[in-house]
């Protein structure tokens, strides 16, 4: 009995983990592969109306239109690049969650890496300078040395 319950619990947890809530479009795909490719592609495109949702999540009319357009184009055997081009020609770069690598977006792609390199460089220079300073004894001028000797003499007398 206990084992059955445990089994049910395990299965239930596994089952819940594998169900993702998405709006269901009753689109008759030709193949399962097409369906998977279409949905993952629609997930990578941003809805122009509800700006923080992808085309699959959003329920706005324009997202429905674009989603169906993606599905149709995938089923017609169009390549991902072609579909992405179709979307950006109409709605601009905005619909891409991953901006293209071009002159305008170099700083987006390489900026963080650049900052990391600069930080590392500054760190290395800083540490090396500290090491160089370690090897040199502090210098003391002759007059200071005399004063110090006198003070030490006095000190010794008093003891």
């Amino acid at each position: 009995m206990n084992r059955l319950l445990k089994g049910l619990l395990v299965f239930g947890t596994w089952f819940i983990a594998h169900v993702a809530a998405t709006p269901v479009d009753t689109y008759p795909f030709k193949t399962v592969e097409n369906q998977e490719r279409a949905i993952s592609l629609a997930r990578s495109l941003r809805c122009p109306q509800c700006q923080n949702q992808d085309l699959v999540d959003s329920n706005s009319p324009v997202a429905q239109d674009l989603r169906l357009q993606v599905y149709k184009m995938v089923d017609a055997g169009k390549a991902d690049d072609e579909i992405i081009q179709y979307m950006t020609q109409r709605y601009g770069e905005f619909v891409l969650y991953k901006p293209k690598l071009e002159n305008k977006t170099y700083i987006l792609w390489w900026g963080p890496l650049g900052l990391l390199l600069i930080g590392g460089l500054v760190g290395v220079i800083f540490i090396r300078q500290q090491r160089i300073n370690k090897g040199t004894e502090p210098q003391i001028s002759e007059s200071d040395q005399k004063m110090l000797d006198e003070l030490l003499k006095d000190n010794n007398k008093n003891e």
């Binding site: 122009p48 700006q51 324009v62 109409r90």
Partner: protein, 184 residues
């Protein structure tokens, strides 16, 4: 020299600060149109008030015009409508409607009730032309020049301020260019 090096992080912070501060004043709802500078996409759709007449993108060539995307389901369009009527009365330029994702009867009834500012009204029930234009809501307006090229897109309802500050200066320039080109 050594002292100056210490100011580099401060400078970097200030540059970043200025950059991000500007970002606070951008309106994320106003996307740039990807179609500015490109011709109106090919379409052949029925006229709203006469299903036997087909309007195509060629019919929009010849004069500077305003394309206005509207629908009876759209509250902001109702808000914008009186100002469009005001513009239509002034006869500054033709205003063409794109009746977007709407029902013909409802659209015609609405125009009858509150007035019709449009010269041509393109019936786009499935939003096909809308998608090709990059429409993501209504109302949206496009200024096209006399060659049928989209020169400007404004998303949102047009009012006096938008018209005078943003749209009309562009229209005037385009109309001058059209006259210089010998169009009407």
């Amino acid at each position: 020299m050594k002292k100056l090096v210490l100011f580099i992080p401060l400078l970097g912070f200030m540059v970043l600060g200025i950059f991000l501060y500007q970002g606070l004043y951008l309106n994320p709802q106003q996307l740039d149109s990807a179609l500015e500078g490109k011709p109106v996409p090919f379409f052949e759709l029925q006229q709203l008030d006469d299903e036997n007449r087909i309007i195509s993108n060629k019919d929009l060539i010849g004069t500077v015009a305003l394309l206005n995307v509207w629908g009876t389901w759209c509250p902001s369009c109702k808000l914008e409508h009186p100002y469009l009527m005001h513009l239509a009365k002034q006869k500054l330029l033709p205003i063409h409607g794109i009746n977007y994702r709407d029902q013909r009867e409802a659209a015609l009834a609405e125009l009858k009730a509150v007035g019709d500012p449009y010269e041509l009204n393109i019936f786009d029930p499935n939003g096909r032309l809308g998608v090709d234009l990059g429409v993501y809501g209504a109302p949206e307006s496009y200024i096209i020049d006399h060659k049928g090229i989209i020169q400007h897109r404004y998303a949102g309802p047009i009012d006096a301020a938008v018209w005078e500050q943003e749209l009309y200066p562009i229209i005037q320039k385009l109309q001058l260019a059209a006259q210089a080109d010998g169009a009407q």
